[in-house]
């Protein structure tokens, strides 16, 4: 894929590749608390069925993942693990922060052990508010992320973490 690195991507090819990426997101599940139950409902249950959106929620390792859904209470102790997880993922990579705890600490805003927002550690693309959010909210977050992927300029995005677009907030 020397084209992307050279910065001379033909527009139709970008469109085609973005379409492919959009409908084949491998999502890594990083469930840390009760939000993981809603994530499980959205990802693994036939009622919500995330696979109809082209999301495959069972990569064997972060190295295969395009997207990580961090759902639940992020404590200071698990921060190194999340950092490593993010660094292991290949570019281009996306992060969905699901639930109040992951977004900002939520009900544990004054705790001595809880990180007040996962965006202090890794860049977040989509915030899904709620305590916990319904599975539909997570699905909407994924749909909005797919829209963004579709309209992405791959050369810009793959250049690195600079000039990231404003994160999406669901709802």
């Amino acid at each position: 894929m020397g084209l992307v690195e050279s910065g001379k991507m033909p527009k139709p090819l970008t469109k085609l590749l973005n379409l492919s990426r959009k409908y084949s997101i491998w999502a890594y599940q990083w469930g840390l608390a009760c939000c993981a139950i809603e994530m499980g409902a959205a990802f693994a249950s036939p009622r919500y069925d995330v696979m109809r959106l082209g999301v495959i929620p069972f990569p064997a390792s972060p190295r295969q993942a395009d997207l990580v859904v961090i759902s639940g209470t992020v404590t200071d102790k698990i921060v190194p693990a999340i950092k490593r997880l993010y660094e292991q993922m290949p570019d281009p990579k996306y992060v969905i922060s699901m639930g109040s705890c992951t977004n900002c600490g939520g009900p544990y805003w004054d705790s001595y052990s809880v990180t007040k927002g996962v965006d202090q550690i890794v860049p977040v693309d989509v915030y899904v508010p709620g305590c916990p959010p319904r599975p539909e909210a997570l699905l909407e977050g994924i749909v909005l992320l797919q829209e963004r992927i579709q309209n992405e300029d791959m050369t810009e995005r793959w250049a690195g973490d600079q000039d990231r677009p404003e994160p999406i907030v669901v709802g």
């Binding site: 200071d76 102790k77 600490g105 805003w109 004054d110 705790s111 001595y112 052990s113 007040k116």
Partner: protein, 236 residues
């Protein structure tokens, strides 16, 4: 029928009130026999529970007695209590936070629980006899100037992790337990968060705003909503 049941229950409760508790008294006697003067105080709730407070030096011995002599073979938990009243008051009751750093409360205003106590910190542990409802809550005073007590791992190896947690949360040492690394907190964490004077930094940076954003429950009288709005406005 319902009345009959209620009457029976009341009678049973009354009987329990006055009845003596031979089994728990026997348990207490076992501790007194083996520990002697080291049993400082005890509290017996007839038919329910037994509290025993032992001297600090005899804390490790008390565990061995509980396991080997009293037959309390099941280790439930080990933890600690900080009897100091919180210098920050009760957050939920105040509309704004106490200024930081807050004045330290008087040590004497602390009220120890069952079986008394002379120190600010107390270690407590619960042990039980499997297959019965017999359970003993053992307590020990932790010296204020040198917060260390003997370890329990020689009697109950499962106490090791509980002692690690108590060590990181309260800063209490356990003589004989060589592995007191942090268990829940990050290893570089400083301070003992379950001590009452531990500051919650988030609250220091951004004080508790009091109750805001009160929405009426569905079906509630809309007049209440107006009152809440007025009260909110006057606060700000």
């Amino acid at each position: 029928m319902a009345d009959d049941t209620a009457a029976t229950t009341t009678t049973a409760a009354d009987t329990l009130e006055v009845a003596s508790d031979d089994r728990r008294e026997a348990l207490l006697a076992v501790f007194s026999e083996h520990l002697g003067d080291a049993v400082l105080d005890s509290h017996l709730k007839v038919g329910q529970a037994l509290w025993i407070r032992v001297a600090t030096a005899a804390w490790g011995e008390a565990a061995l007695v509980a396991r080997n002599e009293a037959g309390l073979e099941w280790f439930d938990f080990l933890s600690a209590i900080d009897w100091l009243p919180s210098p920050y008051g009760r957050y939920e009751d105040s509309s704004v936070d106490v200024p930081f750093p807050p004045p330290m409360p008087e040590r004497s205003s602390a009220v120890p629980g069952y079986a008394g106590g002379d120190s600010r910190l107390q270690v407590l542990a619960s042990v039980a006899r499997p297959g019965t409802d017999l359970r003993v809550l053992l307590k020990v005073d932790v010296p204020d100037d040198d917060p260390r007590v003997p370890t329990w791992i020689r009697a109950y190896s499962g106490a090791a992790w509980h002692e690690r947690e108590t060590h990181e949360m309260f800063g209490i040492g356990f003589d004989g337990n060589a592995d007191l690394r942090h268990i829940y907190l990050p290893s570089e964490f400083e301070g003992h968060p379950l001590r009452k004077e531990f500051p919650l930094l988030a609250r220091v940076v951004k004080p508790w705003p009091g109750i805001v954003d009160v929405e009426p429950m569905p079906g509630e009288d809309p007049d209440d909503d107006d009152d809440a709005t007025v009260a909110e406005g006057s606060e700000t």
